[in-house]
Amino acid sequence: MRILVVEDDPIIADAVRVGLALGGASVDCVGTCADALAAVSTTRFAAIVLDIMLPDGSGIDVLSEMRARKETIPVLLLTARDEISDRVSGLDAGADDYLVKPFDLDELAARLRAITRRSEGRADAFLVHGAIRVDPTEASVTVDGRLVQLSRREFAVLAALMERPRVVRSRSDLEERLYGWDDDVESNAVEVHIHHLRNKIGREAIETVRGLGYRMRAV
């Protein structure tokens, strides 16, 4: 799950980046409205964490601008103000959720999972395909009820494929979801992760569609 964090305070941004990464997400941070809009137009994020008070404007304006551009990415607002009018204006501008500072990192992660789940049209917190069951909350995977240990990246690849099991995901698509801008990506990184995944969850589970990418095999 790739998340954009728009927060000008370096310490909060750092904590959110590291904290969400511990839960398996890859996080990019920007500190201004302009950078946020640029990031959204160039990269596909699963969700955005948006601070309201930014140095070059209001996060609400960024949100309105995004919604005006028909961007449907789920957005969670971070606000220092605990006033109902602020929350209402944020939600009315198109936010999916909000948190008041100081917030709980676990709650932020849970709310992000919830709004991405909703945006994908799923009510269930688990991703299930055949014998494979992915629990994004715990970042855990079971095959036939047996717990499988996956690395952070492997989990992210599997979760991406499981979201829509029969849709082909290209290598670049997966890379974009896996790595932030600051990460060094090896040219065959996705192949390596797929290889390890096949070893752990079963050789037949992931299907290679030649020239296009990968998808889960039909059950």
Binding site: P10, I11, A15, V18, P55, A80, R81, L105
Partner: protein, 442 residues
């Protein structure tokens, strides 16, 4: 409470009443005079008529056997109003009308006169005709006259009396109608929501009320501005107070959740930075509280400016790439002011300069006037449209520093005000950066 409407009503009613009363009096007096004139003329004509008819009159005196009275055709309601006597020139009563008194009506030979006869007031006209040897006296009772005038005026008065309450009702209704714009404004103000600061609609306001509504609208605008200002302040304060706390909490959670000792250590270091920032914020808030409480009462002392700046510069941490230079001429400059205020001002200006530049020189020097202090940095400066706002508490502009709180320049400004100095902020024209001038009013 005085009601303008009631006052106007009373004034209008009294004024109309007074005019009405004057009109009635005038009508009464003029009708009376007119009537008297008419009646006098009638007396005169009657006397002359009788005199001209007196030619072949039986000149034997009137006695019981020879009453010789004549009856004029009675007038309905005002019967026997006129009485007539015909006397011979030698003083014999020759004839009289019925109901006329026995005694002579007047001693006067001719003309008008008033007399009292048998307890009744009479108005008499006498005419003497020497050729016919008669004196004709015609008179009427003044009581009759007064009754006539009274009746006439009464006939006019009744409708006039009915008009008074009608006038009152009309005046009251007109007043209500006239006051309607005021009622609208009152209604508008009374039914306003507490936070509605929109101006009162003045399109239908009469010009007399306009100054009032204009003043009201100005007040609303001022209140709205003050409230917005307060709201902004609250928002800025909430942001500045909650942000370091949010950082602290999130980093602490990272430290707890991290299995990697490197990640944990890094988070703990961030916590330390956050704590430093928060304690600086607390220090600044306390400084503002002290300045607001009026620290200036604590007395002044002679302070060497150069020494104070050196002291502060030495105690303030700065990145290696930032240098500080202090003009030698500042060493001889002394101000006699409250030390705490000056120290607060200088320290916050110094910190502000350092915070806004990763590298460069912070230069303290003498101003254009030998009593002024100037500090110049090589940071991004302040956008012109933000220059007026940077003194606002918690305001942080576009080029805000990572560790700032939006209070530094506020503190400098407040502290300088306390010691009778002024802070002037300008963007440098020679190079990028901000110039802060501390002007000492002589």
């Amino acid at each position: 409470m005085t009601s303008l409407r009631l006052r106007l009503f009373i004034i209008l009613i009294s004024a109309t009443g007074l005019i009405w009363l004057a009109a009635v009096s005038w009508i009464y007096i003029s009708s009376q005079r007119e009537l008297e004139h008419v009646l006098d003329t009638r007396l005169q004509e009657a006397a002359r008529m009788v005199a001209s008819l007196a030619e072949g009159l039986d000149r034997s005196p009137v006695d019981d056997t020879n009453p010789k009275t004549f009856n004029p055709i009675p007038l309905s309601g005002y019967e026997r109003q006129l009485s007539c006597q015909i006397w011979s020139l030698d003083g014999q009563l020759i004839a009289k009308s019925s109901g006329a008194p026995e005694g002579v009506l007047t001693d006067r030979k001719s003309g008008f006169s008033d007399h009292e006869i048998n307890g009744e007031a009479w108005r008499v006209y006498a005419v003497e005709d020497a050729s016919k040897g008669v004196r004709v006296l015609v008179g009427d009772r003044l009581g009759f006259r007064e009754r006539l005038v009274g009746d006439l005026v009464k006939g006019l008065l009744w409708p006039a009396l009915l008009i008074i309450p009608l006038l009152g009702i009309l005046i009251w209704l007109s007043l209500n109608r006239g006051f309607r714009p005021l009622t609208w404004i009152t209604h508008d103000l009374a039914h306003r929501k507490v936070d509605d600061m929109s101006p009162v609609n003045v399109t239908s306001t009469p010009s007399e009320v306009r100054p009032l509504t204009d003043a009201l609208n100005q007040l609303f605008a001022k209140m709205d501005l003050a409230r917005r200002h307060e709201r902004d302040l609250t928002a800025f304060a909430a942001h500045e107070l909650r942000t370091p706390l949010a950082g602290l909490k999130a980093q602490a959670q990272v430290a707890i959740a991290a299995d990697d000792p490197l990640v944990m250590k890094r988070a703990l270091r961030q916590i330390l930075v956050s704590v430093d920032r928060t304690s600086r914020l607390v220090r600044q808030l306390l400084a503002i509280a002290r300045l607001d409480a009026g620290v200036e009462d604590q007395g002044s002392e002679t302070i060497a400016i150069g020494g104070l700046i050196d002291e502060i510069a030495a105690a303030t941490a700065r990145p290696d790439a930032v240098t500080v230079s202090v003009d030698e001429r500042l060493a001889t400059l002394t101000w006699v002011v409250n030390r705490e205020c000056l120290e607060l001002a200088i320290r916050n200006l110094h910190e502000n300069a350092i915070q806004h530049m990763p590298s460069g020189n912070v230069r303290w020097r003498l101003g254009s006037s030998p009593n002024d202090i100037v500090v110049e940095d090589e940071g991004p400066g302040i956008p012109e449209n933000e220059l007026s706002q940077v003194g606002t508490r918690f305001f942080r502009g576009q080029f805000k520093s990572a560790v700032g709180s939006g209070l530094g320049l506020t503190i400098s400004q407040l502290a300088l005000e306390r010691i009778g100095a002024r802070l002037l902020l300008k963007n440098r024209t020679d190079t990028k950066g901000l110039r802060a001038e501390v002007l000492r009013q002589a």
